[in-house]
Amino acid sequence: MKAAVIVFPGSNCDRDIKIALNKFKIKTIMVWHNDTYLPKVDLVVLPGGFSYGDYLRCGSIASKSKIMSEVIKHAEKKKLVLGICNGFQILVESGLLPGILMRNSNLKFICKNVYVKVVNNKTPFTSITKQNEILKIPIAHNEGNYFIDKKNLKKLTTNKQIILQYCNQRGLINKESNPNGSLMNIAGIANPTFNIFGLMPHPERASDALLGGDNGKFIFNSLLNHARN
């Protein structure tokens, strides 16, 4: 399996995700945002960070960069796209995923381990997890408060596009286990064909026991599993 990691000015998790992908034997190429050519890959990753200093709205300027029209073409061919944290913000700003990520409701930058529940395990990104499996993965963001209007929220739920929801250690999805005010505790969503996945938690920061946890490896193993089948 081959992946391309897009590097924007202000990306800061690009090398972390490369190391994680390499650990799982996924070959990785770094691609600069101003390039107009996207190498032939199975997966495009939009990494975490603060592209363009979060100017205007998080991810809004990066979503209009030159390489993004190639990423959109790649996605239209039903190939895989993964957006982590700022990458998720870029995906919603580019229109590849619905909704938007607003400022955390407590107005604070939150950096801590949280629990998320896999509420749809029938996607290329979650295929090796059990339905409703609980994972401990860190978040680190100021704008992770997912919002979408009622009509489109209904579409999300009907199509089972909600993939991860914040929960407590026992898997209870409630207000107390919601770190950022996100609608329905949403931590990660996919497009209707499940080839595009955006999430606020950082799986690459939980991809090795040395990092304090390896629950994030679900995503890499799922991708490998998807590639095998």
């Binding site: 205007l56 709205r57 809004s60 209009k64 700003e93 619905p98 909704g99 938007i100 607003m102 400022r103 955390n104 409701s105 407590n106 107005l107 919002f147 979408i148 209007d149 005010g181």
Partner: protein, 80 residues
């Protein structure tokens, strides 16, 4: 031609920053403030004198970049 664009949160979208500002105004004695909504202003200087062309183009700018229509509304006015 100079134009001014106002980008504001839609009515039903919560504005935690606005609430924090309201609380702060209360703390310094402005108790009469019932609600605060925060927004953005863009001042554009466009190399075009045709008013209609300017307005149409700015509307496109708002839809494509300046505002996110999921949560924001925009208003355009001619600044001069």
């Amino acid at each position: 031609m100079r134009l001014r664009v106002y980008v504001t949160l839609k009515k039903d979208v919560l504005d935690p920053q606005g609430s924090a500002i309201k609380n702060s105004l209360h703390n310094i004695g402005f108790k009469s403030v019932r609600a605060v909504r925060q927004g953005k202003i863009f001042e554009l200087n466009i190399n075009e004198n045709d008013e209609n062309k300017c307005l149409t183009e700015t509307e496109e700018m708002c839809k494509k970049l300046l505002a996110n229509l999921t949560i924001e509304d925009f208003k355009i006015e001619i600044a001069e």
